[in-house]
């Protein structure tokens, strides 16, 4: 098993006719992911790469193909609307890759999703990968922009706010012959869907996940909240790393959410919360996999 997505999960891509969305839809198809539909309003009836039907709306795509998850590659000004369209169509999962969505739009989306059954991952995230059985994990479910081939099927769950730092952790595991159950990049924006805590709870409940790497960064208190929960309810080994110990306060470090403000959200506070929760803290980003493997 794995969490949230399986190799047979049917996905649609919102913004499949854009260059970014199209490129990654193609990479997901090559990986063996069930990309069953694309959505671009006004281009319904066409085919993407001569094989994936394009629809004018998410509702039509869901009705005709049975897709249950979506990847959003829509430009920032229209992304909030695209997420809400996926929610209204009753999708299980919406993964929003788009970077640069105004915070106010995400505040509205989160409030509007309060009663909904749809789970949101992102925005400003690499997405989610459940590795498949293939030699370089082909046949898995890849929603988003992560490189598929770095994964291997296995039993470690990875959750991170950063894309390339996720790849780093996954690659360290794979190079040590250790596979992954599911890897989630939750995104670098201050207001986002799935949190560290949400992902950690799912991994703890998943019988196929035996250990977890949790990667955080400065800003907010999501890492502390996840650590507090682990302290009470954790049942599996967890290794952690927090990026940004050297970041100057008051400056936004690339990610909109990566900022120490008013003395809050420091790496030191997060690392301390990890320690108190019994999470093994990697001394450097080079040691993320080894730190977990020592505990397993």
């Amino acid at each position: 098993m794995s969490i949230l997505v399986q190799p047979d999960t049917k996905i649609l891509v919102q913004g499949i006719t854009g260059s970014f969305g199209g490129r990654h839809a193609r990479l997901s198809l090559e990986y063996g992911t069930q990309v069953v539909a694309g959505v671009t309003p006004g281009k319904g009836g066409q085919l993407f790469d001569q094989r994936v039907p394009i629809f004018d709306s998410v509702a039509q795509a869901v009705r005709d193909t049975g897709a249950t998850a979506s990847a959003v590659f829509v430009p920032p000004a229209f992304a909030a609307d695209a997420i809400l369209e996926g929610v209204a169509a009753g999708l299980d999962l919406v993964v929003c890759i788009t970077e640069g969505i105004p915070v106010r739009d995400m505040i509205r989306v989160k409030a509007a999703m309060r009663e909904s059954r749809t789970r949101l991952i992102g925005p400003n995230c690499p997405g989610i990968v459940t590795p498949g059985e293939g030699r370089t994990s082909q046949g898995g479910c890849r929603i988003g922009i992560a490189p598929g081939y770095i994964h291997r099927k296995g039993h470690v769950g990875v959750v991170s706010r950063s894309g390339t730092l996720t790849y780093e952790a996954v690659w360290q595991l794979t190079c040590r012959g250790v596979g992954q159950s599911t890897c989630i990049g939750i995104g670098g924006d201050p207001v986002h869907g799935t949190t560290h805590l949400d992902a950690i709870r799912l991994f703890m409940e998943d019988p196929d996940t035996h250990g977890i790497i949790m990667i955080g960064e400065i800003g907010g208190s999501a890492e502390e909240e996840a650590a507090a929960w682990i302290r009470q309810h954790g049942t599996k080994p967890v290794a952690g790393f927090v990026a940004g110990a050297t970041a100057p306060p008051g400056r936004r470090m690339g990610h909109a959410g990566a900022i120490v403000s008013g003395g809050k959200g420091t790496a030191a506070a997060k690392i301390e919360a990890f320690r108190q929760a019994g999470i093994a803290v990697a001394p450097t980003p080079s040691d993320m996999a080894d730190t977990l493997l020592k505990r397993m």
Binding site: R104, M106, A111, P147, I150, G219, G254, A258, P285
Partner: protein, 403 residues
């Protein structure tokens, strides 16, 4: 994006927030003339404030020794003289760093008869994913200090973003702040106006410190926003062209402005080991690992998760303009991007810029063998790192060996 106090006043005034009368001036003559106008309209005390994006102006000192970026004065000639001393001068405060900021504009405003000072802010509560209105009776003070020492003096009202701040919530806040009688309505009205300004301008922070209870010339009590600070969500600027035009490049580091033209996220730091990385998280982690092995990072530089050849070349140009840099660490996880393309970008950039500094490159990911071969075949003195740790140790060693 931060804006100046005089610009914050414009946005607040448009939403109906009461402010002391006044305006921005770019010359001493204009400042003197505006001062005379304000005096003629009945103001008796005026304030002159240097306009820079940094706090602590009142206690700051200009580089020529002139004291204070905020002055309380009574006559137009005094305002003109003080404005002449400030304009074109460089103000150093605890927030500017020793280099200070050049003052190009001043604000001249009425200085009301203040009875009481409060603090008011609207900002995002990240845990709740909602706006929160935060206020305190300890005005004029640093809110972090108040939060640490007397948290009971701070009142908070989270706002349902789909409804906006409701009048009863605003009144509750006003009552919690100790207002009575007619001032409850005045305060509630002001709170709602500030909330609307936050929401409609896509602000990330509005801070009014102090928010003042003043005695008017008629002897009545009234509320005025005496100082205001606004930051705007960068992601929203596409829909606020007028606010975008308020960006003041003179307030930003020239290297950071140049980097933004290459779509690079660059932040200059004080160290001597430059780093060039793809992805914000990995870029922060690279700074951390440099420090872990005893070095000091010269910058944060994220060329984006995709890292194109052009961006890598642009990044080298930016890095090399920092005179403190003694060595460079390139750390690229080429997930989708071909490492060989990145390697060729690096070789090209090194040749074009005539780089003489030690360069350590750690490449990982797609087609990494070809990438490493390209670096080796270039006959440039590039050290390769096997892992992030290996690369960080090597670059720190080059700096400590040749300090």
């Amino acid at each position: 994006m931060n804006i100046h106090e005089f610009q914050a006043r414009e946005l607040l005034a448009e939403h109906g927030v009461p402010l002391p009368p006044g305006g921005m001036c770019a010359s001493a003559e204009d400042a003197g003339a505006l001062a005379q106008q304000l005096l003629d309209s009945g103001e008796t005390l005026l304030v002159l404030k240097a306009q820079i994006h940094a706090g602590g102006r009142g206690k700051g000192t200009f580089t020529d020794g002139y004291p204070g970026g905020v002055k309380l004065l009574r006559t137009a000639p005094e305002i003109r003289t003080a404005a002449a001393a400030m304009l074109g001068n460089t103000l150093v405060t605890k927030q500017t760093g020793p280099e200070g900021r050049r003052v190009n504009r001043v604000l001249v405003a009425g200085a009301p008869n203040i009875q009481k000072e409060l603090y008011l802010a609207v900002l995002l509560d990240r845990s709740l994913a909602r706006p929160v209105v935060m206020a305190s009776t300890a005005g004029g003070m640093d809110i972090e200090e108040v939060a640490a020492k007397t948290p009971e003096k701070i009142v908070r009202q989270p706002v349902d973003p789909l409804l906006g701040l409701q009048p009863y919530e605003a009144r509750d806040l006003a009552i919690a702040l100790g207002f009575t009688g007619g001032l409850i309505h005045q305060a509630a009205g002001l709170l709602m106006a500030v909330y609307r300004a936050w929401w409609e301008s896509d602000a990330s922070l509005i801070e009014i410190n102090p928010l003042c209870v003043v005695k008017t010339r008629e002897g009545k009590e009234a509320l005025l926003a005496v100082d205001a600070k606004i930051s705007i969500d960068d992601n929203s600027l596409f829909r606020h062209p007028r606010i975008q035009a308020m960006r003041d490049l003179a307030e930003e580091s020239p290297l950071e402005v140049e980097a933004s033209s290459f779509a690079l996220n660059y932040i200059k730091l004080d160290g001597n080991i430059a780093c060039l990385v793809n992805g914000a998280g990995l870029a922060m982690a690279t700074m951390d690992i440099i420090q872990h092995y005893g070095g000091v990072p010269a910058n944060f530089l994220d060329v984006g998760g995709g890292a194109s050849e052009e961006q890598v070349a642009g990044a080298f140009k930016i890095i090399m303009k920092d005179p403190n840099v003694k060595a460079i660490l390139v750390n690229i996880f080429g997930g989708i991007m071909d490492c060989d393309v990145i390697a060729r970008g690096i070789v090209q950039a090194v040749k074009e810029t005539g780089l003489k500094l030690p360069l350590v490159v750690r490449l990982e990911g797609n087609n990494v063998e070809s990438g490493r071969a390209t670096l080796a075949a270039s006959r440039l003195t590039i050290t390769t790192g096997e892992s992030m740790a290996d690369a960080a140790q090597k670059v720190v060693r080059t700096v400590t060996a040749h300090p």
